[in-house]
Structure formats: C-alpha cells, structure tokens
Subunit: 388 residues, 2 copies
Amino acid sequence: MTTLQVALSGREYPIFIDDQLDPVQCLIPYVAGKQVMLVSNVTVAPLYLALYHEALVRGGKQVASCILPDGERYKTHESLNTIYDALLSAGFNRDCTIVALGGGVIGDMAGFAAATYQRGVAFIQIPTTLLAQVDSSVGGKTGINHPLGKNMIGAFKQPRAVLASMNHLSTLPPRELSAGLAEVIKYALIRDEAFLVWLETHMESLSGGDSVLLAEAVARSCAHKAAIVAADEEERGERALLNLGHTFGHVIETYMGYGEWLHGEAVAAGTMLAADLSRRLGWISAADQQRIADILKRAGLPVLGPSIPVNEALKLMGHDKKVLAGKLRFILLKGVGQGVIASDIPDELLAETLRAGLSGPGRPEECSSKPFNSAAMNPLTGDTEYGS
Amino acid sequence: MTTLQVALSGREYPIFIDDQLDPVQCLIPYVAGKQVMLVSNVTVAPLYLALYHEALVRGGKQVASCILPDGERYKTHESLNTIYDALLSAGFNRDCTIVALGGGVIGDMAGFAAATYQRGVAFIQIPTTLLAQVDSSVGGKTGINHPLGKNMIGAFKQPRAVLASMNHLSTLPPRELSAGLAEVIKYALIRDEAFLVWLETHMESLSGGDSVLLAEAVARSCAHKAAIVAADEEERGERALLNLGHTFGHVIETYMGYGEWLHGEAVAAGTMLAADLSRRLGWISAADQQRIADILKRAGLPVLGPSIPVNEALKLMGHDKKVLAGKLRFILLKGVGQGVIASDIPDELLAETLRAGLSGPGRPEECSSKPFNSAAMNPLTGDTEYGS
C-alpha cells in the first residue's frame, strides 16, 4: 500500500493507494462520531456499497446511505438537497461523517454537503474512477453546477482520508478510464516531462487497466497535485496551472450539454487547443504539439473538440470562473512539462485556435483520428495540424 | 466613530460603529475587485440602498443589486438561488464582493452566497437591525433554513468589514429593536454582570432609541462576541454559550412557524426557560430569575413562550443542531453573568421547565406581562415564577 500524506489548511490527511484497501485500517479510524452517511450513485452502489456499509456497521457505526442518479447532469441543487434530506431525516448531527463513494460528481456533491451541512461535518472520499482518484482526491474543491455555469456554487472542503482502490477501476468502462488518463497526462504536461516519458512507455498497459502501473500513475499524479495545491490553496495563482485544457474543455461541456462529453474527454480536446495556441504563440514546436496529440490518442482520447462557432465559444468563456476581472486567462505551455498562466492573448490567434480545435464531430469517440477540418486549416501555411 | 478590530481565522476585520458612517471611508476600501453586488430586501432597500449604491458608483465600482422579500420565512434555498442568478446574470467573477444590507436574514443569506459563489468571494456586512449588529456582525455564521430545520445548511464566512450605523436603527420598528436587545442582554447574562447593571440603568433610553447608548451597547456586545468566538471559532466548546436561550427559542420558532415570533423574542422567552431550569437546578436564585425577567420585560420582550406540549417541544429539540451525539446540551446560568454548558439534565426538571415556560399566549406581544399559567404552577411550592 502506498500512503501519500497531504498537508493542507494546517491539517494533514492520507491518500491510501492500493489494489484493495481494508476499511478497518483505512476508513473506520477516520470516521468522526458514530453517524456515517454513505453517498453513492446507482451505478457504483450495487458494486461496492455493501463492502463499506458492512465494515462500518461491524465497526459499531450508525450507517445510512443516499443513492443518487449517475451523471454530471445530476450535479445539481436537487441532488444536493437529496443528501441534506437524507441527513436530516436520519437525525444526523454535527458530529457525523459523510463518505463519498463514486466518481467526481459524487465526490463534489457529497463534499459540498459536508462543507455546508450544519456549517460543516467530517468528510471521507472513496473515489471509484481514475479521474476522481487523480483529480478530486486532492485540493478540496467541492460544489454543484448551476443552470448558468459549471461548478459555480461550491466550497473548499478537505477530506479526512482518501481511499483509492485500483480494484474499483476494474469495473470502469474503458471510456471513463481514458477520461481519467487525460488528467494524468495533464500533470506530466504542466510540470514533469519525465512523467510524460514514463506515460509514453506504459500507455497501452495503463489504458488496458494494469493495476500496478495505475497505482503508480495515481500516486505520481496526486503528489503533483498536492505540491501545487499546498502552494496555493485557494487558487489565486499557481494552482490555475491545473486548469490546463479546462477553460476550453468547459466550453465543450457547456455547449454540448453536461454529460455528452465526459469531463476528461473535454479536457483532452481542450488540452489540444491549449497546445495549439501555445504553438501559435511560438512557445512550443509543431513536434511538441504532435507529441501531445499522440499520447492523448494512445490513451483513447479525442484531440479535436466538436464544431462550435467561434463567437459561441468566446461567449461561453466569458462566464468561465477562471476569468479574472473580465480578462481572459489561459493555461498554456512553454515547452512540454512547463505550464504557464497567460493573458493578453491576441484575439486573432485565439480565434484561429478555436476555429482549428472546435471543428470535429459531435461525438468524442470520433474526434480522435479525424483528418483536420479544411475550413479551419491555416490558409498561409496549409498546416493540417494535430488532427492528422 | 468606534472601530472594533476582530481577529478570526488569522484574518482581521474592522467593525465600524457610529451614528452615520461614510461609505468612502468605511465601505469602498474593503471592496475586492470592481464588481459589487448589494443584497437587500424590500423593506430596507427603499430606505438605504441608494446611499451605498451611489457611493460605490462614484468610487468607480460596477454595482448591481438583488432585492429579496423580507422575513425569516424567505431564508430559503429559493432566495439564495435568486442571489446566485443575479451574480451569474451580471457576469460577476471570483473577484467580486457581496455586500449584505439588511438584518440577520439578509446577512445570513448574502454571507452564504459569498461563501459558496465560485467557492468563495469577498463579503461585507451593513447590518440594519440591532440584532444583526450585535449578533451576526461577529462570528462568520451564515446559512439558510431547510424545511426540516433552521440554519441546517450553512458555512463559516468572515466579512472584510462591518458597518454598524445607529442611524439605520431609527427606522426599525420598536418590536425589532426589542428583539435586538434580547441578544444584548444575553451577553450580560453569560459573562458580564457589570454590563447587566449598565443595561438596568439605561434600558428605557436604549429601547427608546438613544443612539449614543445604542452605539455603546453594540460595541460592548460585539467585543464580548469577538472574545468568545476567537477562542472557539467553529463552535466546539465555549462558543456554545452564545446559544443561551436559543435551544428553547428554536423550539418556539419552529413550532410557531418561522416569522411568527421574531428570533429575539423567541430567544428572550428561551432565556427565561434557561433561567427557570437553572433555578430548578439550584444554580441561580428565584431573585436572580426575577431580575432577568425584569430586564427582559423592560426591553419590551416576552418572558413566556407560547403553549407547546412538552412532548412536541422535546421532539423539536431532537433536531436541534446543538445536540451532540444524541445528547441534549443546554446553556444555563450558574449565577447572573456566568453561562455554563450543561448536559445530563434530569428529564423531570426539563419537563417542569417546559411546562412552566411554554404556557403563554401564541403572540409574543402578550407574553410579557401575563399572570403565570396555573396549569404550569409548581403544585408543591405554589410558585408563580417569572410570569408574574
């Protein structure tokens, strides 16, 4: 078992990483009080709820559960209120513990419930997707979507422990595993070229579900995220690097409606837009851009976004919460392995990137290997760019 | 102008207290960014919104406002969502500032919106009721009610500044001023008998609206609250003393429906129940109990709760968030000026107090000077107790 200690907000918590984790060792000691609410969804609960429920009951806890529908489109106030109702109906008090058992959506909602139920109760995460293990395990971001924007309502809430069981990834659909790999690749791109080389060496084994390699990828990813977040807990500076691909990705998710594109798929296409813009600025080479496209494609990820008119995309970016005082900020690359926060991007370069990158079919599965849309081709260079 | 510096969560913020406060000096320097959302209600906005709106615009800020209905019954998710909608529709970003202009309900909702909009934006409070000035100015408690319980959803959020203008109290209905005095009296009862003597000297001037005396009462109250909260920011110990009268008060508010009894009125009646229980435990004398009843009555406050069956009251206490692990905790008095946290109260004493104290008419205006309900009279002593 790998244990990664994360120190944030003056508190420290462990991320346990192994093929299978023992609840008696890794879960029960981190429960506050006697009352435990397991929050899960209709997909994950039939597979893994009983394991934790029984262990907690054997450990003398009063256990209740709240099972929500599955999917980003349910990351709403209504689902959040279902958790509140379950807590209040069960008579849970301020000393209870909320355990999130599921992917990022469940983690975000259960975490936000823990941040706000009676002004804050204890929280433990059992992420069951690769994306949740490498992303929401660290950093304390929780929240829900609002009809006018994604993740617009939320809070920072640190868990008491995170249990990342590789075993749970065995039931994950391949498309979801790929979506998680998008975030793993992101860490390599923004701060660790050696990790990118490692990923290039092992990508087929990783996307094939090798649990030893996945555990290493999770540990390295979480360590990167912890280092960044520790330096900037409330996302006022360096932490923004974690949003590589996310500003563009949010445009895709919002335009297509939450859930059509998986978050990681949108991030992958968004990462390619960021790489494209970086290349147009002269910050990375065309070969670098191709290298990034190659690793994403080997992970089974799209490298083009769906067709979205440039004006629509710009409008959608105006509501992105990463916009500071009305000024568009982008996370771009100055070389592979070095993310930067950039603003004052020339409008025309941005428009060219949007035209080039948001030009694929509507379905992410088809955006991995399509030839580059001729309408978006650079008329001066004739570049066919990364969609080759 | 009195300025009280409050240091919480490693941050420090000023409470400005004066008859009239200059927004250029006390408000604008505390605004983060350029975007300011003024949150107020239909009662307060026509009186004071223009003053702050114009000053902010003159100060170069982009100002929007969100006017909610007035009253505790609107402290709901729907009102909160109205604030979120206003923020998103105006395109407000993470560097915006939310200003609460109103009583405790507006402060709680605007503060919770500030705690959760984009995971937290800047917050300034302009409390326009005495209760909000002496209570919600300090401590950072924010939140909304849930159909299953009061203040069940919330967060801790410290403001950047608090502006307490005595001038705003001139338009407050006398009943609301009295409700604020209930909280002022509370500080005296739990930790400062000398302050009680001062209140006994000046009560008629205070309830008559003398702004110099009110400013002193606000400053002394806020200083007491700041001292307690600084020692226990997340309400795990000593801070619970601030809930004197509140556990019983919540029973009254919940049973009667939010808004029938003002919060301060319910707290006043609840304080008398706490005093009654303290006297039954032998911790204060009958004369002490009478002294407390006298000051509350002089402040125009009820000293009896409405008639509520004991079993109903006990059931309602079971959902109170101050219940720790299923055990009822009470804030009682061991002498006037010394609050204590008590548990293991004998059931029979509690029932006697509930029978005696929850026996008045349904309307708080009638609960100040009614003769004590004979059904609740102690058959052994014939005590007519505090309702005389």
